[in-house]
């Protein structure tokens, strides 16, 4: 009897034990994942900015412009193209709010020298500008390092060169896969699968040999190992433009897309597997043209939405999509006929906004030569710290877009190595843009912009050498 009681106890315990289930596997660490996570703006803490496209040689010069709100120490590291050579460094203490420019040629003049800019506090932002007698190219530097980058607006049509700069500022080797999309949908290039980028080095890929005669090119750069910062460089015989990769979003604002008389377009690609409807609103100094153009974007093909026929410059653009997309603005010398868009998707439709759906643009040489491109802002913000630059014979204009239905009161002030900053106020009507020519140089290398409602900010530099568009970075 006693043994039976014990056996029953044992049986009960054994059954309960056997019924237990294994614990669920612990989830993988949440360090932000591998998706694109470009931060919305400059953060109030130390940061490192990566500027892939920096060059200082006998014909090209580069400026790196830093604008900051608090006092900071800025450390510049310029990688040397000579193998096994230590990077060159420079440092400066900047009293905030302030801004400063560094001509990289004063530190290292050996050609391509991608740069790392470390700032001891924030919010602070960095932009880089390259220039020569025949071109200007500029855009913001990048602070985040996502695993997947999206770059749109490339082309290898006759006379146009598209290059991709892959900058690995870190010591660990990186391995990336570049996936190209063109008007022929997915354009496979075996050589670009599993491409190695050595630690603390960079590589520049010219796509002409791989994908020649593509009117539209877009890329995703996926890092299988390590991290890289890519930048797209598009050039032709009239100029050069550079812009970095972007994070997908359902909305982008481009405060300026139409420098000079260049013909602007919006290059888009979807980040998902499904088709997406992309709508473009044109925002001028006088108001907004809603749904100015709408296209249905296929999942495996980029789209190029011509804008020059929609309004007279200057104007900005708001791009909306039914799913996350990547977008960039490209402005080129106008061609003879842009009917239906350049190599546009067959499904592209043009919204009737005027008497005619077809615009004929004269093929005259624009008053400035050039090629410009930039990325947009995914989110309007109330505070911006904008590093700006200038060159002799060029004008710098600050563009502010108020896409909200109410007027915005915007305060903007100079940043730089000056004691008395001039503060100005401008009221921007609802759904319109304002271009403010600003003084740059002579101690002024940035502007702080604050608004009573969210706005988007960018700046433009144009002159004899060409034109460049630079997206601003929000700071609050």
């Amino acid at each position: 009897m006693r043994r039976i009681v014990l056996a029953v106890i044992a049986g009960f315990l054994g059954v309960v034990g056997a019924m237990q289930v294994a614990p669920t596997d612990a989830p993988a660490p949440d360090f932000g994942g591998s998706e694109v996570t470009i931060p919305d703006g400059a953060v109030a803490s130390p940061s490192a900015w990566y500027c892939p496209w920096v060059e200082a040689s006998d014909i090209v010069d580069s400026d790196i412009v830093v604008a900051t709100d608090p006092d900071v120490t800025v450390n510049y590291t310029l990688l040397n193209p000579v193998t096994n050579t230590e990077p060159s460094t420079a440092s400066l203490d900047l009293v905030g709010p302030g801004a400063a420019v560094l001509n990289t040629g004063t530190v290292l003049r050996v050609g391509e020298t991608p740069a790392i800019v470390e700032i001891s506090n924030g919010p602070a932002t960095v932009a880089s500008m390259q220039y020569a007698d025949a071109f200007i190219s500029a855009d913001q530097c990048l602070v985040s390092v996502p695993k997947i980058w999206y770059l749109t607006g490339g082309s290898t049509k006759t006379g146009t060169i598209t290059e991709l700069r892959l900058f690995n500022p870190f010591a660990d080797n990186a391995e990336v896969t570049i996936t190209a999309y063109s008007e022929f949908n997915l354009d496979l290039v075996a050589e670009l699968d599993g491409l190695d980028v050595g630690g603390r080095s960079w590589t520049t890929i010219d796509f002409a040999p791989y994908l020649p005669f593509r009117d539209e090119l877009a890329f995703t750069v996926t890092t299988n190992k390590g991290l890289v910062i890519p930048a797209l460089i598009r050039s032709d015989d009239r100029g050069e433009a550079m812009w970095p990769g972007v994070a997908p979003a359902e909305s982008f604002e481009f405060p300026v897309v139409s420098p000079g008389e260049l013909a602007p377009s919006i290059a888009v690609m979807t980040a998902g597997d499904d088709g997406v409807v992309v709508t473009v609103d044109i925002i001028t100094e006088d108001g907004t043209i809603r749904n100015a153009r709408e296209i249905v974007l296929d999942s495996s093909a980029p789209g190029l939405i011509p804008l020059s026929d929609l309004a007279a410059p200057p104007f900005g653009v708001r791009v909306r999509a039914t799913a996350p997309i990547a977008a960039s603005a490209v402005a080129t010398v106008p061609e003879a006929d842009v009917e239906g868009g350049e190599g546009g998707d067959p499904s592209t439709t043009t919204t009737v906004v005027d008497d005619s759906t077809t615009t004929t643009v004269a093929a005259d040489e624009p008053f400035i030569s050039g090629l410009a491109g930039t990325i947009g802002s995914a989110r309007p913000a109330s505070e911006w710290v904008v590093p700006v630059d200038s060159l002799p014979g060029a004008e710098t204009t600050l563009w502010i877009m108020n896409s909200s239905p109410e007027a915005a009161t915007v305060n903007y002030g100079q940043l730089g190595e000056i004691e008395d900053s001039v503060l100005d106020v401008v009221t921007i009507p609802p759904e319109s843009i304002v271009g403010i020519p600003v003084d740059v140089g002579i101690g002024i290398y940035g502007y702080s912009v604050s608004s009573d409602r969210p706005v988007s900010v960018a700046w433009e530099i144009s002159g004899d050498r060409g034109v460049a568009l630079v997206a601003g970075v929000p700071s609050g």
Partner: protein
């Protein structure tokens, strides 16, 4: 009738008085001799005017041919002297002795053989009766010294007897010196003496000391060169082994050698005299010596006899019984079990413990471990003052006892625990009359079966060691006990010691014996032994817990038991086999084993339940404890099945049932053999020694720096912390030791590390090297596969974090994991204000003295760090560099507790020995 006149040799009789025997009886016996001696004298004794033997010999008339030396208490037969004189004359012996037997008729001596160390050996069995079996006149190494006839001229020439020697050794010495001069030393069996050897008591050391002096006088230097050290070592072995037989010879050992050191001048003098004008060398002495060491042989025989008494079976130690036992399966399987253990842990002998999970090498310096345990600094992670586990004290003690040998202490403990486990299971089962062979089978499955493999797989080395102790702890409670205060006190002490040892290895197991025994008592409620055992277990639990001081006061059993998640993955086949064994044991066995089997089944099922009961709140360590309990129950079941299956008077259905059970037993035995493959006692292969070996590439860096390990939690050494779901922890280089696996709650410096990691992970900084350098972290190792399509998600996530840093360089040459090294210099766990890095020596930091400077010590801040003045700087410590060493003043309460525990352990051990001797 012969008319030739007979000339009788003149003999003088000298009685050596030692105040131990009956002098009157001796004198009476001498008076009855048919061969008259010319004179009789008494030498020695305690009187002030007593002559020495040499003086007496010197005073003899030159006409005396022989001197008959008789010990006080010896009772020569009437013809003893006549036989001696006759044989001496006939053989020409210089020294001839009598056959000695005691008053019971048992032989005491028929001449002596010695070993090379002059330890006498009679060659007689205990109580061997004289049946004339040795009645041959022959040469011997020496005479017992009870009754011997010596030529007067020989003894005079030899300088007499060495008065400094004990009597027996003095006669050996005399014989050896005589042999060097060419004299024969013989035994005359026709000459008989009755002599009851008195108890030498505490004077036995003198005999040992005399031996050394005796052989030192006669051997050549070359022989002494190996004899003396070997004799010294044998003395150490004897002193240690004798402890287990209740004899304390350590002081005697020192006394023996101390005495000889004091006698060196006179020994040299004696040596010159003995070896002068010798006609033979020591080779002549070796002819009459036996090979090997008499002491070692005696110890071996005694050890075997003691072991045999603990094995089930006949308690006799006769040659016949040994032969019978050897032929029994139990003895063979026992030998196989030892072989099994030796093979199962062979890798630990060569490589030491693998560094994996909670199993880490013992600290290189045992004193560090003891100091750390006794209120010292806890080196785990970034350090703390939390009490370390008692296991560390045991490891430290083992290290000290093995003279800090590299891996011997680790081997000793692991192999010892396995053997102890097998042995303990046999002894426990023997309590319930289960035989040796079933006990051994149960023991093997207990220490090497699936449950033990589960514990080893969890890398809980402490539990693995405690596994060997648990059966002993239970047995100490439930085995029969003799009456009397001392035996009871000895048993209580023994129980407390076993329980303390159990808790030291695995704190949770301390709670097992009491309920286990109580349940058994409940189901065998008429068994008073079990109720007494329950009380003993209560005392043991309380006493054992106290022995775990100071650890026990800073940790709770609940916290230990709930840490982690218990889930033992068991193969369905094994589970079925376990059920089969349980059923066969419970229902197939006869009374009273049925209840024991039921108890075993309940234990087994309870352990199984706990080992999988993570959802009930049981943690990882509880899983291991549960596995030990399950293994214990399984062992009992296997013992019962194996015992029952061999019984012949079983009902048919029982026979079938236990037969099926026996098949399952075989299955478990086969599965136990798996641990032989790795040779690590079931422990997983090494991870960290190999992974972190790169830290030794540059001399001195490992001792100055730390390693940050990141990756999957199950690849971390011991405990780990998490940030955003990612596991990390800091360890010492080149490999963390046993002081490091268990982390204390986060301190200020831990918080600092957390914040820095948060900044690194969120991308707030891209200079991880600079952020981590203040903590002495030079390397970051991403554990697990962080590359390719098979990459572990956690490893990949961490790699991406550190791949995106500007001041970290990847190490690629010869490293298995992704490793990053900081670009920052200097990096140090202890950095002086002049940026000099102090290396870690043992568990502290030492460097060059820098007067008036400071040392920044990257450990969690604690004012006990010194030398003073101490300051908290950046969540760490800043102390003076004036002394060249960073000190830590132990917590006084913890130190006092540890000292009390040490004293208590010694006292308890003494109590156990006293109790056992009285038993």
């Amino acid at each position: 009738m012969s008319l030739t006149p007979t000339r009788h040799a003149t003999v003088a009789t000298i009685v050596v008085s030692d105040d131990l025997g009956d002098m009157e009886a001796t004198m009476a016996a001498l008076g009855r001799q048919v061969y008259e001696s010319s004179t009789t004298a008494v030498v020695g004794g305690s009187g002030e005017s007593a002559l020495s033997l040499s003086e007496a010999v010197d005073r003899l008339d030159r006409s005396v041919e022989y001197v008959w030396i008789v010990r006080q208490g010896a009772l020569p037969l009437p013809d003893t002297l006549a036989a001696l004189v006759q044989d001496a004359s006939r053989t020409g012996a210089g020294i001839i002795g009598s056959k000695v037997s005691d008053s019971e008729g048992a032989l005491s001596s028929v001449g002596l053989v010695t070993d090379v160390f002059d330890v006498p050996y009679t060659g007689l069995d205990d109580s061997e009766l004289d049946q004339g079996q040795y009645d041959v006149v022959r040469d011997v190494a020496a005479i017992a010294g009870v009754s011997m006839l010596v030529r007067r001229d020989l003894i005079h020439g030899l300088g007499g007897i060495d008065q400094k020697l004990a009597p027996l050794v003095a006669s050996i010495d005399l014989a050896q010196r005589a042999r060097l001069k060419g004299a024969r030393v013989m035994i005359s069996p026709a000459s008989e003496v009755v002599y009851d050897r008195p108890d030498m008591g505490r004077r036995r050391w003198r005999e040992d000391a005399s031996r050394i002096r005796a052989y030192s006088k006669v051997y050549g230097w070359l022989t002494l060169l190996w004899v003396v050290p070997l004799d010294f070592l044998i003395g150490i072995v004897e002193a240690i082994v004798s402890i287990f037989f209740g004899r304390w010879l350590v002081f005697d050992f020192f006394r023996v050698w101390g005495w000889n050191i004091g006698q060196i001048p006179s020994t040299f003098s004696g040596r010159r005299q003995a070896r002068a004008k010798r006609v033979a060398d020591e080779a002549e002495l070796f002819r009459f010596q036996r090979r090997g060491s008499v002491k070692i042989s005696g110890l071996t025989a005694r050890t075997m006899s003691s072991l045999r008494r603990r094995l089930p079976g006949d308690d006799t130690i006769s040659v016949e019984s040994i032969g019978r036992d050897v032929r029994q399966p139990a003895f063979v399987v026992g030998a196989l079990a030892v072989l099994f253990v030796l093979v199962s842990v062979r890798t630990i002998w060569s490589d030491g413990l693998p560094a994996v999970g909670y199993t880490l090498p013992f600290p290189s310096n045992g004193w560090d471990a003891l100091d750390g345990y006794a209120g010292g600094w806890n080196p785990a992670g970034l350090g703390s003052d939390l009490a370390l586990r008692p296991l560390l004290a045991i490891a430290g003690l083992a290290k000290i006892l093995t003279f800090h040998a590299d891996v011997f202490s680790e081997y000793l403990l692991i192999a010892g625990a396995m053997l102890l486990g097998i042995w303990g299971m046999m002894r426990l089962l023997r309590t319930w009359s289960i035989g040796a062979a079933p006990g051994l089978l149960a023991g093997i499955v207990y220490v090497a079966g699936p449950t033990a493999q589960g514990v080893a797989g969890n890398t809980h080395i402490g539990t693995l060691l405690a596994l060997g102790v648990l059966p002993w702890a239970i047995r100490a409670c439930v085995s029969p006990l003799r009456d009397g205060i001392l035996p009871v006190a000895g048993r209580v002490a023994s129980v407390i010691l076993w329980f303390g040892l159990l808790g030291a290895g695995a704190p949770l197991l301390l709670l097992v014996p009491l309920p286990a025994i109580a349940v058994l008592a409940l189901f065998r409620w008429k068994d008073a032994t079990l109720w007494r055992g329950t009380i003993l277990a209560m005392v043991g639990t309380a006493g054992g817990a106290l022995l775990m001081s100071p650890f026990i006061w800073e940790h709770s059993f609940e916290a230990i038991g709930r840490e982690g998640y218990a889930y033992w993955q068991i193969s369905p086949v094994l589970a079925v086999a376990g059920v089969v064994i349980g059923t066969a044991a419970v229902f197939g066995s006869q009374r009273p084993l049925g209840v024991i089997a039921g108890w075993g089944a309940a234990l087994s099922a309870l352990g199984f339940f706990v080992a999988r009961g993570g959802s009930f709140g049981f943690g990882h360590e509880a899983e291991s404890a549960g596995l030990v309990v399950a293994g214990l129950g399984l062992g009992v079941l296997i013992g019962v099945v194996s015992e029952t299956v061999s019984q012949t008077d079983l009902a048919a259905w029982r026979r079938v049932l236990t037969g099926i059970g026996a098949v399952a037993v075989v299955f478990f035995l086969v599965s136990s053999m798996v641990i032989i493959l790795g040779g690590r006692g079931g422990l997983p292969g090494d991870v960290y020694k190999e992974t972190l070996s790169f830290t030794m590439a540059n001399e001195g860096e490992a001792e100055r720096s730390r390693v940050l390990l990141v990756g999957p939690r199950d690849l971390m050494p011991g405990d780990s912390r998490t940030i955003n779901g990612g596991a990390y922890r800091v360890v010492s280089a080149p490999v963390p030791d046993l002081g490091e696996p268990r982390l204390a709650p986060r301190g200020e410096l831990d918080d600092f590390l957390y914040d820095q990691l948060d900044r690194i992970i969120t991308g707030e900084t891209r200079r991880a090297g600079a952020e981590l350098a203040p903590l002495g972290i030079r390397w970051i190792v991403v554990m697990g596969d962080s590359e390719g399509s098979d990459a572990d998600e956690a490893s990949l996530a961490w790699r991406e974090v550190f791949a995106g840093q500007l001041d970290l360089l990847p190490l690629s040459a010869g490293v298995e994991n992704a490793v990053f090294v900081t670009d920052i210099d200097p990096v140090g766990r202890a950095l002086t204000s002049t940026a000099a890095s102090w290396p870690r020596e043992g568990w502290t930091y030492q460097g060059n003295i820098e007067f008036g400077k400071r040392v920044f010590v990257a450990e969690n801040p604690n004012p006990n760090f010194g030398p003073q003045p101490w300051r908290k700087t950046a969540s760490a410590n800043e102390v003076s560099s004036n002394s060249g060493v960073v000190t830590y003043a132990a917590e006084s309460a913890a130190r006092a507790q540890a000292i009390v525990v040490a004293i208590a352990v010694v006292a308890l051990i003494a109590m156990v020995f006293v109790g056992r001797r009285r038993s």
